[in-house]
């Protein structure tokens, strides 16, 4: 069995025992990539020589010593490109600094390994909005890996990475994790520093682990969580030992099933897999409680006002002046801005910038943006009320398994509506995780993974991981 198929926890044991070297792991990944990444397309860039050099120098006494971690290509690594899957940054930008999580990975002994594909600026649910590359689902190459962290999910699922970091603004870690059959954890808002993550929607974005096991998710979260003076929204709250309670089980816990998440529009097979996971947790001693999150139906509209509004502001920095795309022979400064942005951005990014600019514009601000922020409060309260009754909440991640590449290409609203189950936790700042819950057989006979989503209160990652461990198949 190739070392590329192993988990962080298994590899750490072998490394510490001296049975393998960190370079062996890099070599195993290099072989996997060479055999498979041509058809999967998970990586935008790898530097195997650099990875071997890092591995050879890795301090194995550190928590992630010698473990290669792939990074979504919207996280800055000093001296590397950070394309965000965009033509705008494909040329003319080399990161002049490390993201906070990048520095923490280095400090924990990890090997920074490869940059994974994503929807342009993390805007999408299929990785089809990458301007640079197509990424395919390793379980069925005709299908999407999900998105926006589709490259990270596909890499981990196909053993092209041991583990990876993704970012999640409205489901971008959990949904590709679900579609690719891996574990994906979105930390609570403020648990992980966003410094050096290229900003999409600042009140929603979080960086999180994408791994082969719940145990690995706990290990990787441990390495990246904690305060950072460079992100004022990153909370100065102590980081507990996330592995400590992992095996304590769910006996005596109350787990909520929100009726709004199991109604119309969900694939019957997906519902059945999620319900089977619920039954397993019940058999393990959890009390299952039906709950209501009455404003669920408004999550899509609320999110697709707030996230584009924040994006339109954040992406104003891409103006052709300081880095990246600059239009040739501009007539004047305004022409430089407008043509650089027209040339550099793809359709989904333009669509969201226009939508966000509109909802923030004079005369529409209160009707759209302020109202959406108020509905966000209602959605947040729904969860607060629910967590008065239950310790965690169980839901599907996505209404259906991974769709075919190219489906619904001209219908962005359809795509947005499929995010319904993952948006609420971002709007409310909760922590959330996707754990594999089995597979559904496609019309062509492929087995498509389905994820169970678990939600826990703000900063309750230990509870989240404990339930996830019990739900892991």
């Amino acid at each position: 069995m190739s070392l590329a198929t192993a988990t962080i926890s298994a590899l750490r044991k072998q490394l510490v025992a001296g049975e393998i070297t960190a370079v062996d792991i890099v070599d195993a990944l290099a072989a996997s990539i060479s055999a498979q990444d041509g058809e999967i397309g998970a990586y935008l860039a790898t530097n195997l020589d650099d990875a071997r050099a890092q591995a050879a120098a890795a301090d194995l006494s550190k928590p992630l010593g010698g473990i290669p971690i792939a990074l979504k290509d919207n996280i800055n690594v000093l001296g590397e490109q950070c394309t965000c899957g965009s033509k705008f940054l494909a040329k003319g930008y080399t990161a002049p600094y490390d993201a906070h999580v990048t520095g923490l990975l280095r400090a924990s002994g990890a090997v920074l390994f490869g940059r994974t594909n994503l929807d342009e600026f993390a805007m999408g649910s299929a990785t089809e909005n990458s301007a640079l590359k197509v990424t395919r689902n390793p379980h069925d190459l005709s299908r999407i890996p999900g998105g926006s962290s589709g490259g990270s999910a596909a890499a981990v699922a196909a053993d092209l990475a041991i583990a990876a970091l993704g970012s999640d603004t409205g489901g971008s870690i959990r949904q590709p994790a679900s579609h690719c059959g891996i574990v994906g954890l979105k930390p609570s808002y403020g648990r992980v520093s966003r410094y050096g993550l290229v900003a999409f929607a600042s009140s929603l974005d979080q960086i999180g682990p994408m791994t082969k096991s719940v145990e690995d998710a706990a290990l990787l979260l441990q390495a990246i969580a904690g305060p950072d003076h460079r992100d004022s929204t990153c909370l100065n709250v102590p980081v507990p030992d996330y592995s400590a309670d992992l095996h304590k089980g769910v006996a005596g816990m109350k787990l909520g099933i929100p009726k709004e998440y199991f109604g119309e529009g969900i694939d019957a097979e997906v519902r059945a897999r999620v319900q089977a996971s619920v039954k397993r947790l019940e058999a393990a001693g959890a009390e299952i409680v039906e709950i209501s999150l009455p404003h669920t139906e408004h999550a899509v509209a609320t999110y697709y006002i707030i996230a584009p509004a924040e994006a339109s502001s954040n992406l104003s920095r891409f103006d052709g002046i300081r880095y990246g795309q600059r239009a040739a022979s501009p007539a004047d400064l305004l022409d430089l801005y407008k043509r650089s942005r027209e040339e550099g951005f793809g359709p989904e990014v333009k669509r969201r910038i226009i939508l966000g600019t509109y909802v923030l514009s004079s005369g529409y601000y209160d009707a759209y943006y302020t109202r959406a922020q108020k509905v966000r409060t209602l959605i947040r309260r729904d969860f607060e009320n629910a967590f008065q009754q239950v310790d965690a909440i169980l839901t599907p991640v996505a209404p259906a398994p991974a769709r075919k590449i190219g489906e619904f290409a001209d219908d962005p609203l359809h795509e947005y509506l499929s995010d319904i189950f993952t948006l609420g936790p971002n709007l409310a700042g909760l922590c959330a995780i996707s754990v594999p819950a089995g597979t559904v057989t496609s019309d062509t006979g492929t087995e498509l993974p389905v994820g169970l989503q678990i939600l826990a209160p703000h900063m309750a990652e230990s509870t989240l991981l404990r339930v996830a461990k019990a739900a892991e198949m």
């Binding site: 003319g92 930008y93 080399t94 002049p96 600094y97 403020g190 009140s203 003076h229 929204t233 909370l235 408004h298 509209a301 609320t302 697709y304 006002i305 339109s312 103006d319 052709g320 002046i321 300081r322 880095y323 990246g324 600059r326 007539a331 004047d332 400064l333 305004l334 022409d335 430089l336 407008k338 043509r339 027209e342 359709p347 333009k350 669509r351 910038i353 226009i354 939508l355 600019t357 509109y358 514009s361 529409y364 009707a367 759209y368 109202r371 959406a372 108020k374 509905v375 966000r376 409060t377 209602l378 947040r380 001209d410 609203l413 947005y416 509506l417 971002n426 709007l427 700042g429 703000h458």
Partner: protein
Amino acid sequence: MATEHIDVHHVAGLARLELTEAECAVFQRQLEAILGHAESLAALDVTGIEPTSYPAPVYDVMREDEPRASIPPEAVLANAPDQAQGQIRVPKVIADA
């Protein structure tokens, strides 16, 4: 919230995007559909509800007023599409006298 409100061409100008006519037409149709969906929010009673800007309680975060090292100018200039004399060069922004 009424439908058929967004003038994509106008808003693209505000957003500093030089769209083609074909792009405007596609976005016009798609954004009308998205904004149509967003109308469901108008039916909710939000009287007296405080807006949420951030989901976690972060207010007035202060730090000690101490100088810290920042990214060196040459590292920043290395990404500039055009530069001269240690500065990023842009098209002329002052009209001829």
